[in-house]
Symmetry: C2
Subunit: 315 residues, 2 copies
């Protein structure tokens, strides 16, 4: 019996998987704040809860793969830090392995999600896949020659921080004009806040969208559906910028497939991805872009737990 | 006995290598125009000439690795096309293998050059290396996890065509604001032509640099050395743009090393690469860029023949 675990900033999910990578039990808890020890206790309780729902116990566990929202040291199974959780230099694999008596493997959540789509979702059977996940930032993952590509320190795939506007806005990373500054949910929220303030979109004004923290993907969808042309303009522009980033990835990797995922893509669907794809096909080198498939991620939240569990088994 | 062959647009070079990858004989000829058959005859003559200089004959040959200035089908050893040579769909490996009676392997010249630096030059012992070669365009090569990365169709590494200015100039590839449009020798020549026309740089004016085809790397060096501040401004700007592209590659690959090469880098040296590196360090994510080495290619023209010969032996 194997568990895939998604350690998120707002919730944590433990999923018990059978040998066919089907989820046989799920246990989801809100992530509480607190120090490393408190979060550790929560993780253990969430795993135990999932085992209970599956009618199993710790002795049945072969491995736990944990997807972490931040950089890790994969070799030692240490969480280096997590911007949203406040964890720093925590040897989670060692501590949890000792507690549960089984093999523990850590992976970055974006990589785990892309790997899930690769072994059980939309990217099955491909060998060269770039994953792009626009959200608060823009996450990226790389499957090259059938392997998850990590680079020298496990940080490869920061696609959100390639420059698309050399004189563009300052990014949180320190650079200017990163893809994130023009194609993320945050970039859309920033521009929608003006529409909300100016009363150009009643839906946004009513939802208090002048506070960009309140602009979720569902609200963007609702404002789009209300037919406000200003909203469509903002969203379409972000999609076109995403397409420019996708074209750069096509020219860099000559991939077979680009997987688009994350909340924004899930909510807006082809309304968003079609524009991104059209821009990509217009701007990428024709010889490379011919035959590149652009697909939406298929497994939703399960991608991360399925991928984490699979990677734990393989490593 | 192995031969590495550099099939260039203006010259072709056959180098005979010993088992230590040392060049024991070289034969260089001007590349004449003509149809596939004429170019094929020239290749054969150049190989035979190199064998003669090494005191060897065709029977001593184990393999020939040929570096081609354009896209190839590596599996079949076919040159798909070469912008500068006019070759199209030519099954060179099969024809040459039949003629010489040995194993023939084709590789793109940028990949061959980077591989040469990897097996015998500045990138020895690294596993994650990005090569960037600014010239007429900007070539790119990728060594990932110790392997040359080719992507689905062998075209990976078109780093010159990532977008750094989303509303920038039209590029030859059809895209706008590609790295090539701001950081190549051609981009520098374009801006220097104005200085030549306006009489702002006597060195450039005298060399006829209003014709951008006459702006070679050596002339750029000469104009820089003459101390014209306008020339320095143009060159430094290109170096900064190159650094923006390098930062994107750092964020995408988390590499150990970036190799800079090509005529422009050879002529301008650290005058050019230091500015590019400083910009890269300022704009890449700190966690990734720490520990990235930026080095100049070491082997000059030999990189391509050494790399091509080595790849032929391995494939």
């Amino acid at each position: 019996m194997r568990i895939g675990f998604d350690l998120g900033g707002t919730k944590m999910l433990a999923a018990v998987l059978d040998d066919d990578r089907s989820v046989v039990a799920r246990n989801k808890n809100r992530t509480e704040g607190g120090d490393n020890d408190h979060i550790f206790a929560q993780i253990v309780a969430t795993v135990d809860g999932a085992l209970g729902k599956a009618g199993a116990s710790r002795g049945d566990l072969e491995s736990v793969g944990i997807a972490v929202p931040g950089p890790i040291d994969a070799a030692t199974g240490t969480i280096l830090y997590t911007p949203n959780l406040g964890i720093r230099n925590f040897p989670l694999a060692e501590r949890l392995g000792h507690e549960l008596g089984c093999h523990i493997y850590l992976e970055n959540d974006v990589n785990a999600g892309l790997w899930g789509e690769y072994v059980a979702g939309c990217a099955r059977g491909r060998r060269h896949v770039v994953g792009i996940f626009p959200g608060t930032g823009i996450g990226g993952g790389l499957i090259l020659d059938g392997h998850l590509y990590r680079g020298k320190g496990g940080a490869a795939g920061e696609i959100g921080h390639i420059t698309v506007q050399s004189d563009g806005r300052r990014c949180g990373c320190g650079n200017h004009g990163c893809l994130e500054t023009v194609a993320s949910k945050t970039a859309i929220a920033r521009d929608l806040a003006i529409l909300a303030m100016n009363g150009q979109s009643p839906v946004l004004a009513e939802a208090g969208a002048t506070d960009i923290r309140l602009v979720k993907s569902g609200l963007i969808k609702k404002a789009l559906d209300a037919g406000d042309p200003g909203v469509a303009e903002v969203v379409d522009q972000a999609a076109r910028f995403l397409g420019i980033g996708m074209a750069a990835m096509v020219n860099t990797f000559d991939p077979e497939m680009i997987v688009l995922g994350g909340g924004l893509v899930e909510k807006l669907g082809s309304r968003f991805t079609d524009i991104a794809e059209a821009t990509m096909r217009e701007r990428a080198m024709q010889r490379l872009v011919t035959g590149v498939e652009v697909v939406e991620a298929q497994l939703g939240d399960d991608a991360v737990v399925v991928g984490a569990a699979d990677l734990a088994e393989a490593h």
